[in-house]
Symmetry: C2
Subunit: 580 residues, 2 copies
């Protein structure tokens, strides 16, 4: 294998040798401290050592294990401490907070590394036969709680797909590629690149997430404006379930009844394991530019985005920061030379002369890619629209700086957790006419939720992923922790944000999945009968409830269950049959 | 109501006063006779009178009827002969052939016309309670057998949605429109037009089909290249089922687990009744042009289509006829003046001088619509690509002639049935690299199927509805009937076409639904486990199997069942529980 991605650090984001470097971004921590009301710094709160992590003794199922051992190589099965801990959770706040404190109650009893579809089939058949639960695991980057075990009383296996990483076929004439689902973002793009192709899917988690994970959670990449969301890219797939293999055909579109691809997309591991997919791909772009703009206010930026949709000339990426997120972006800038500081002063003077009220100004990041002639035309069209709504060009330096660090943002959370600061995100999507009301209500709800703990709030928002009918609305928030009440603080704010989405007509998430964190709002989002329909599929394909139990099916008191996650001894004993 | 569409003629396509006029198209019948080997014309085979149509005595369910009568107005319930016959079938070959012969064994016992969602709910609740089956009915234009009753032994109700036709809300800022599902194409476009909007969905059946029918069958309109297939346009919907109302939110995109919209789209009436949908709409185009082109051969036209996809400059409609379909189009031309006949002769000379081998030439119809500047640019770009592959412009007269008659083609089948000629269609989609192999194999299979009856075959094909990965491939065929063996002839040819699709990696239909006609190929298309997953949803939402029984669930011997449709006494006695 040319590419064998390591697991991320068990207690945080990214490779063990990567992290947030405050020397490169000297403005960030002073900005954060000022915003969050941090006057004196406490000693760094480092995670406990791996050896000190507490987890339940592994549940043994000797006959299941024997069956696996006869079918797989020895190195495909592991119950090592590191393997169990690194598969215990994804990378949500609750996940990281618990791990850093030394608790891995969600750890599986065993980790299996299939190398082909038959390995998956054998594992699922044995699991069904010996009553073992299986939690599919891609890159482990999910932040909504899709990966921890929700049940005890029977063995839990984490099925880590990273060895299934081959590009199986490219049909360049038809712009399709058939790929094993365990492939990571960079590996996939490198393999497609050899054929002159790209998938065009670049989520923030790109370095640490897999094709199968993207499909199972309905992921969106930064350039979804051009390439679509992952569900728009799937042409065919194969999914191994306890009842056998579901497989669809490589056809552009069909009228063959209910679209069976869509029963698998977004299934969050509850029905089976996606083993491969045939994806729509694109020639690698000949040209790419990343101009940035500044708008006098959020409203103007929003109107400009919507007008680009109306005129059918969207950039491949747009990201409009609100004033708070704009201030954060400025604080995040790499250290600058004296010369650039001087230029900045002159530019600020220019902006004031242009009538900009700087605290209200909003940064718009964009990217355009494709054929050079198309890119030039689109740029001209978009710039004219932006000017019409008061936007001025900032050139390409802000965009290049964003490009250089775009996959680094998740490291900030670890940096802040070291400093007793909680930060997290909640995101949704809504129609154009509802973006501002939703934005105002949710910012208010988040800040009120933080203030209830008596600490100063920080929150910001960006708009991205545009569609004809609307866009994604993405909130980031942060606050000082109160010792012993960290989880309570988080739950209050998270609940306020999510409830605001649902109360204001939006959805529980645009691209982060349901998992545990958004489950209490599922019935309000898709209606109780929608939940029942999903349960019916589960009942048909996984009658023994072996696949990722506890997901997509809210309990009778979902908020109570939700608030208990992370408290000890909250694991349910097994509920064998899928509810129907 | 400003618009109250009549039912189509009970024995054929369209309004009673509409039909194919061979005086306007004098070349058609001579061409058809020559192709089909018809030497002497037999007397016209007119349909039997309505009074002579045989149908089973209506099954009565007095308590069900009493419940309906207490909830609905008298004019919302009908068991008249005309109502029963007109709801007996759609407009497939088998439907029309049986009706013309005087057989309406598929007739429902009662027709109900709901006027709002509550009427639907009341009807479904009563049906569930009193064990009545319900077949949702839109425009009745389906040609795949979605509408006839497949079961006897309990009462069958046809639920005709045409009175639910209101445009409920338009959000012009977000380009969405909320509409009742029983609205017909022209009515919908007229109502949207008052808001400056269009849905952009124009299937061949546009005049005689409804929004709900489009969604339930995954319909495609002629301009899907620009506006998408119907499943791409649905933002939210409401579906009444025996277990209650499923409702989704008006959000552009979500990551809320399995996409519940897609459990309803394509459900062909088997789960419930779609009562309303919120659809993506577009400003009405400022400009529209319909240039046509001639390519030296089919291959060149295909390459040109695919290159437009590659260059991201697709027209809003493309339709490439193969040589046979091109010849049919020429024969279909309205009567021409002496002058235009002279021009034609000159033009043919020009083509020969250009190296065209006329019997191999292929007609490409296109449409471009949108802002004038965009249309002009796209036309320039597309024309340059077409020239590169040998295409020459024919100007706009062929396109205008197509526009004027585009909804009339289905009338030809009635004209031919009058003359003892069977004609029908089978269509599919496949990836670009497979279009030519599939085309050649299927044309061969259809012709061989016809020849087995000892009559001369006619078949032709067009390519339309392009996507990045491929396009729709649409076959039309016709042949002389042999008296008493008409159904056998049809089945042989239809089976040959469909089997060729499946054998060559394509799908059972691109936009005509599964119904009865394509059911034997469903398991091969979506895999047996895909069929099982769909059955599981059915089991969850319609446990009493009240909704359109017999659809989407192939029997153990699907070909045997398929070949029996249309033979008398083939109705199954009731199978109450949905298979799971």
């Amino acid at each position: 294998m040319s590419y064998n991605p390591r697991h991320m650090k068990w207690w945080g984001w990214g490779d063990v040798d990567a992290g947030f470097n405050s020397e490169i971004h000297p403005g960030f921590w002073p900005y954060a401290k000022a915003q969050l009301g941090i006057e004196e710094e406490t000693p760094l709160a480092a995670p406990v050592p791996l050896e000190a992590v507490q987890m339940p003794e592994a549940i043994a199922n000797p006959r299941f294990l024997a069956e696996l051992q006869s079918a797989l190589h020895a190195d495909q099965v592991s119950d090592s401490r590191h393997d169990r801990v690194v598969h215990a959770y994804g990378k949500g706040f609750r996940d990281l907070f618990r791990l850093r404190q030394g608790s891995a109650e969600g750890a599986p009893d065993l980790v299996v590394y299939p190398e082909n579809e038959n390995d998956v089939l054998v594992t699922l058949q044995a699991a069904t036969h010996y009553d073992v639960m299986v939690i599919p695991f891609g890159g482990g980057s999910n932040i909504s709680g899709c990966l921890e075990r929700m049940e005890t009383g029977r063995m839990a296996v984490s099925l880590d797909m990273r060895r299934m990483r081959r590009l199986l076929a490219v049909d360049a004439e038809s712009f399709t590629a058939r790929v094993e689902a365990g492939v990571f973002g960079p590996d996939l793009e490198e393999q497609l690149s050899a054929h002159g192709m790209t998938l065009g899917h670049f989520p923030d988690s790109f370095l640490h997430s897999t094709l199968g994970g993207w499909i199972a959670t309905r992921s969106a990449g930064m350039q979804s404006d051009k390439y679509g969301k992952i569900e728009d890219m799937v042409i065919a797939l194969r999914m191994v379930t306890p009842e056998g293999v579901l497989a669809t055909r490589t056809v552009p579109k069909s009228s063959n009844g209910i679209d069976v691809n869509h029963l698998c997309i977004g299934s969050e591991g509850t029905l089976g394991v996606i083993t491969e997919a045939t994806m729509r791909v694109h020639p690698r772009p000949e040209s790419r530019i990343v101009p940035a703009y500044l708008f006098p206010d959020f409203e103007g930026g929003l109107q400009a985005m919507r007008e680009c949709v109306n005129r059918e000339c969207m950039p491949s990426m747009v990201r409009l920061n609100d004033p708070d997120k704009t201030a954060l972006s400025l604080a995040f800038k790499p250290v600058s030379s004296r010369l650039s500081q001087a230029v900045n002063r002159i530019f600020k003077g220019y902006l004031r002369a242009k009538g900009f009220d700087l605290p209200r100004a909003c940064l718009m990041l964009t990217a355009f890619e494709g054929r050079s002639t198309d890119v030039a035309r689109q740029l001209q069209q978009v710039s004219a629209i932006y000017r019409q709504f008061g936007g001025i060009s900032l050139g390409s330096s802000a965009g290049k700086s964003f490009e250089a660090t775009k996959y680094d943002f998740p490291h900030i959370r670890d940096f802040l957790l070291d400093r007793d600061v909680t930060s997290d995100v909640s995101e949704t999507s809504t129609v154009w006419s509802n973006i501002l009301p939703l934005y105002k209500a949710t910012m208010g709800a988040i800040r009120a939720g933080i203030l209830e703990s008596g600490v100063p709030p920080w929150s910001g928002c960006h708009i991205s992923h545009t569609y004809r009918s609307g866009a994604s609305v993405y909130f980031t928030f942060g606050f000082m922790q109160q010792q012993g009440r960290e989880m309570e603080q988080y739950l209050r704010v998270k609940r306020a944000a999510q409830q605001s989405f649902i109360d204001h007509g939006a959805t529980l998430s645009h691209h982060h999945a349901v998992g545990t964190e958004h489950l209490p709002w599922l019935a309000a989002d898709v209606s109780p009968l929608g939940v029942k329909a999903v349960a019916a599929i589960k009942h048909g394909l996984d009658p023994g409830n072996n696949m990722n139990p506890g997901r997509l099916q809210p309990s009778r008191d979902p908020f109570e269950e939700w608030s208990q996650i992370g408290s000890s001894s909250r694991l349910k004993t097994r509920a064998k049959a899928a509810s129907s």
